[in-house]
């Protein structure tokens, strides 16, 4: 069982990212899935989050007491939810907005910047982040992620989203190898 949380501002597309991930796991990877999210005023302007639990077995209780992966799209989310991460958890942060991270295992990738600069649509930062998540943690298969994307995203926006997913994969590979290197460096020291 793996618990993923997307968190950020309302409007950053986190609910969509959560839904694509959940769809990918349930419909394409045939896993057991539960997805929950923040609702109401909270979701409208302020902080927003979407949690996805993926498991091979039935998920009995839908509100886990820890997170395995936190995808944080702003500083607030990092501050607020890092403590909910399991000890072996991983934090994936949008470097565009997040400046301070205290959690040990993390990746910091500028999703929004990538979306804005390389894809010309800031709005797809969520899918870039999703791509990175999939690449880094393999929570669902890439095929499943792509398939779920096709289903959820309206025709007109599909192209840029496909590119965003790929960009996410790629950025993650870069980040991972950079970190491997850093960790290696550290080991040497």
């Amino acid at each position: 069982m793996i618990v993923v949380r997307f968190a950020g501002y309302g409007g950053q597309g986190l609910l969509t990212a959560g839904l694509i991930l959940a769809d990918a796991a349930a419909v394409f990877d045939k896993k057991k899935v539960i997805q929950t999210q923040s609702y109401g005023a909270e979701a409208r302007g302020g902080a927003s989050r979407s949690d996805v639990i993926i498991s091979d077995e039935d998920i009995v209780f839908p509100k886990p007491d820890h997170l395995d992966i936190l995808v944080a799209m702003n500083q607030l989310s990092v501050d607020k939810y890092s403590s909910a991460l399991a000890e072996e958890g991983t934090l994936i942060a949008d470097a565009t907005f997040v400046t301070t991270i205290t959690f040990p295992d993390f990746y910091s990738i500028p999703f929004t910047e990538i979306a804005r600069e390389r894809l010309g649509r800031e709005i797809v930062a969520n899918v870039v982040a999703l791509g990175a998540l999939v690449e880094l943690k393999g929570v669902v298969s890439k095929k499943a992620a792509a398939g779920a994307l096709e289903q959820r995203i309206p025709q007109g926006a599909l192209d840029v989203n496909r590119k965003a997913l790929e960009a996410g994969f790629k950025a993650a590979r870069t980040a991972a190898s950079a970190r491997d290197k850093a960790v290696a460096d550290y080991d040497i020291v």
Binding site: Y9, G10, G11, G45, G46, A47, N74, L76
Partner: protein, 95 residues
């Protein structure tokens, strides 16, 4: 920065509280003198303060009480404090 520096125009002082601004673009679009440019975050940049005619449109139209022309410079510590504090609040993160 919570409160943008005060810019003196025709003897009045522009207060812009970034922490309250939600980047709606209304002040930018409705200013009759194009005093503002749009920042990359959609928020106003006070680009041409010298053109301001003090018409009050930005102040009266801003839905967030985030901009206004004051008689005196903002010496108001309490208000500053309030704005600072609100950034610590979750709501401050509204966009």
């Amino acid at each position: 920065m919570v409160i943008k520096e005060i810019i003196n125009v025709r003897g009045k002082h522009l207060g812009y509280f970034e922490a309250w601004c939600k980047a709606c673009g209304i002040c930018i679009a409705l200013c009759p003198k194009q005093v503002f440019d749009t920042g990359t975050d959609g928020k106003p940049i006070v680009a041409r303060p010298q053109d301001c005619i003090n018409c009050g449109t930005c102040e009266i139209m801003c839905p967030d009480f985030a901009i206004g022309w004051f008689e005196d410079p903002l010496h108001d510590e309490e208000l500053k404090e309030a704005h600072k504090r609100s950034t610590e609040d979750e709501w401050a993160k509204n966009k």
